[in-house]
Symmetry: C2
Amino acid sequence: MIRLTLEQAHQLAQDILRSNGFSEPHVQAVSATVLAGERDGCASHGLYRVLGCVRSLKAGKVVADAQPEVFDQAPAIVRVDAHGGFSQLAFQAGLPVLLGKAREAGIAAMAINHCVHFSALWVEIEALTDAGLVALAFTPSHAWVAPAGGSKPVFGTNPIAFGWPRAGHNPFIFDFATSVIARGDIELHRRAGKPLPEGWGIDAQGQPSTDAAAVLQGAMHTFGGHKGSALAAMVELIAGPLIGDLTSAESKAYDDGGDSSPYHGELIIALDPQRFLGAAADEHLARAETLFESIQGQGARLPSQRRYEARKRSAEEGVQIPQALYDDLNALIVR
Amino acid sequence: MIRLTLEQAHQLAQDILRSNGFSEPHVQAVSATVLAGERDGCASHGLYRVLGCVRSLKAGKVVADAQPEVFDQAPAIVRVDAHGGFSQLAFQAGLPVLLGKAREAGIAAMAINHCVHFSALWVEIEALTDAGLVALAFTPSHAWVAPAGGSKPVFGTNPIAFGWPRAGHNPFIFDFATSVIARGDIELHRRAGKPLPEGWGIDAQGQPSTDAAAVLQGAMHTFGGHKGSALAAMVELIAGPLIGDLTSAESKAYDDGGDSSPYHGELIIALDPQRFLGAAADEHLARAETLFESIQGQGARLPSQRRYEARKRSAEEGVQIPQALYDDLNALIVR
């Protein structure tokens, strides 16, 4: 393993993205996101992702200098056309408008269209909780997941993320795939030659399988049976057709057998506790703290607790990445 | 079993509620909801619930003639104070304002406060999909469910409901508890002296148990492990403190060992596809139909399909209820 300071990790990501031709705003937006993942101990959304960013660029699947365009769609809707660039810059472009609309209307939505999406949603959720807002985010992916009772892939891993601001504490944030497991975990089993736990997926004939390669060719299951399947369908609908963007099946068809990140949309909803509660906001937000205490007081963990612990550690000790990844990343710097 | 026409079932509910002293607007709103449940084959939310309505009234836990008060809280928020009455009338009172705000702003929220809540959420979701809107609804209940990794009840059964309007079809609607199973199913096992399946709950000492009575004293699990637990926490937060109303723990404390329906709030979010998509709405809503076809085309069911089949049957054949329930209901009519 190689140890890097956060500054070194950030610099490495920037050097790769910049030297491969991404415009400076994309270099800054994408490197900040992968740094946040690495810092929070989410290796699968950390520096590793820079490999995929460059691969998408070389495959012609992402626009390196796309300039997001912001539309004031309705009093409580802002729409951002990413014009084929990575999602991060589009999110940043729309964020001030979303904040303004949520604070004015009480609830507001941001629809990001035509973006290439590879990041976890909690980074964006945290931008909203930092501003004192409650937030939800949804995005489809590629069609890899079968509906409950079915055997063919229709849904993406379709994450749902939620955040709640907490005065004096890290926000309450969760961000999970509606598939039973992340796609990357199945890939890791395949590389390691390890069988999958039962219940993760089915093969191309629709039969339950513990063979990772067979499930990658077949379909994954949703988490939680028909309930997770219903949620996965909801994500398809509200972060697909509702915002005029692709479903996971359409995104996979667009990729045309490639290995690129999904190209589609994202829906973010922000709610302002100050507008819901007025002068009573502090009193009621304090009652939410009682809820968190009743969870932690019995020894259960809040979601994101591990991430915040890793964040604290990384601030003091930096991050560690495998030597092989470090070498692969360095080899991508165009000198 | 006793067979009733829909008109007879509706009349029976009205006669009971009216003769026990509910005001006419509450008689109409509550009887319509229990009729919808009975008609759609949801016996647990059908006429059976009228028993609980009268029990709540006799226990002094619901205001029989409460007049909901509607507040224009913010450009995209309507708040309704139910003043201690059942939720249905409050929903009806706020509905026109919610529709207007969603159509104007693109997304809007309705917060119902201080209501007694016993109904499924799909009835209210359907009022919104009938108006062409996409809808979400959330409500806590009583603290009966332990967080993942914990052993003490904190969450309610905390349902999440979602609806998507479909031209020429019944809407896509799901409505499920974030607990692994409905509270009533555990009660049914207890009455039948049947052991619970493994994984439904724990006893008061926090140990896994298949004894229904022990789990009723202990805690139920959420569905889907830590993901369901995260969703249950979200429902507590956004349909509790965010709208200035009680959490499931506070609602249970308020009930003070009684057996009444939860007294708290409900959050409904409505999104207008016309505002998100403008002139392109029809084109994109048609792509949602492709998604539904890809689910049903492989033999999987859409949520609510069973309900719609029951609805069709009930329109032709009426409904059937157990003789004992029919007798219990008739005995409640004050003559």
